[in-house]
Amino acid sequence: MKEMIHVVDYGAGNIGSVLNMIKRVGGTACASGSADELARASRLLLPGVGSFDNAVQKLERLGLIDVLREQAHAGTPLLGICLGMQLLSEGSEEGSLPGLGLVPGRVRRFAFGLADAALKIPHMGWNQVRVRKTHPLVSGLGEDARFYFVHSYHYQCADETDILLETTYGYPFPSGIQRGNVMGVQFHPEKSHRYGMQLIKNFVEM
């Protein structure tokens, strides 16, 4: 099933690379910031770069908070990337505004004890992921699956069964989440070569 993927364009980061990758793996995609258009999309991808509150405000201004929540409740597949995944939460330590609240949990800043004091924040570079449960989004990701990460905050799932992928940076944190039709990945698949392509291809074909 190759449905058109609507990439939410709300002014929080570059979407060119994401559109490029979707096309490269044989999907069709378009970018839109229109509440009407996104309310009728059959597949949604929420990108995001920058700070939490800033992103929430931008979505709010375009009337997209309600649209995204309604779409999620209607069963439309929704994939959040990087800050887009963090926006699925109830809220973030980085800001004071509420998130979309679609996957129970909050976002907190990396915090290391004495043993890992040398670890730099942000978590930046290529790191491995461990698949925690079977799901079409992560099919085909082998033991060597690695992705490009750049973030200072990470998800803390209230429900452990929502954890789809796990990565260790000082301690394990959810690098991928999934609850029903709502999914999120902390890394940048559009900057992660074949592994990113596999994931995006899975989303295209879901």
Binding site: K120, W126, N127, S192
Partner: protein, 253 residues
């Protein structure tokens, strides 16, 4: 586990890919878009692209070529060369460039680094320090493709730009550039031990062992290779090449 980053550092001049020796005698290597396409196929973790003529020759930022370059890549790219304003940076990030390197503009005016970091995030702002020994044998930071001497110490400048908000420092040894003689570990150690942000070693890589030494002996967080990525070997012809994932992993175990 976070991998040690190994990346090609490609030099561009007036639209062509070139390679220098001690920042002089640029030799034509090929077409930058084509080279980037090959590195993308080789799945390099990250790529640095520096336009060495943008500031020193005044040729400015080649947005057209950069757009084509980004279109070829499914990995992060750091671009440097002729960037002087937050507006230009905004335009570059909008193209899909992941990180921007400032050099002369940051050294002349560290508040630009602060403004950029505030808007785009510290990790998106890199500062490149080109370093050469002066006739007294002391390291000083240069600008304009090595033609101008700021007379300032790399350690002092590194501290200043870290305080200003830079996310990383690209430490480029002019003396070692293009010589295949190994990184300047003394310089690397001096700078990496003085700042908390990652330092990328650049200039002099000639062998895989050099890459290991930069991290283990020099305290670098990442390594950039130039000649090693574009020539078959020292004094040999052009060949776009890169250490395999296995080679990289075994180097830093």
């Amino acid at each position: 586990m976070l991998a040690v980053r190994v990346m090609p550092c490609l030099l561009m001049s007036h639209g062509a890919l070139v390679k220098t020796v001690q920042f002089r005698k640029p030799t034509y290597v090929g077409d930058p878009v084509n080279a980037v396409r090959i590195f993308n196929q080789k799945e390099v973790d990250e790529l640095i692209l520096i336009d060495i003529a943008a500031t020193s020759d005044g040729s400015g930022i080649d947005f057209e070529t950069l757009e084509k370059v980004v279109g070829e890549c499914f990995m992060p790219i750091c671009y440097g060369g002729g960037v002087r304003s937050v507006d230009e940076m905004r335009r570059l990030y909008a193209l899909g460039i992941e990180k921007i390197s400032l050099s002369s503009a940051a050294i002349e005016n560290p508040s630009l680094v602060t403004a950029a970091a505030a808007e785009f995030g510290n990790q998106a702002v890199v500062v490149t320090l080109d370093v050469k020994k002066n006739f007294l044998g002391r390291y000083t930071v240069r600008t304009h493709q090595g033609k101008m001497d700021t007379k300032r110490s790399p350690i002092e400048l590194a501290r200043e730009i870290e305080a200003a908000g830079a996310g990383e420092i690209l430490l480029y040894s002019i003396d070692r550039d293009g010589t295949w003689s190994g990184f300047d570990l003394k310089l690397l150690q001096a700078v990496s031990s003085t700042v908390g942000i990652p330092v990328i070693a650049c200039g002099g890589a000639g062998s895989l062992q050099d890459l290991r030494a930069a991290v283990k002996g020099g305290g670098a967080s990442a390594v950039a290779i130039g000649s090693m990525a574009v020539f078959q070997g020292k004094d040999l012809g052009v060949l776009i090449k890169f250490p395999s994932r296995k080679e990289q992993e075994s180097l830093f175990k």
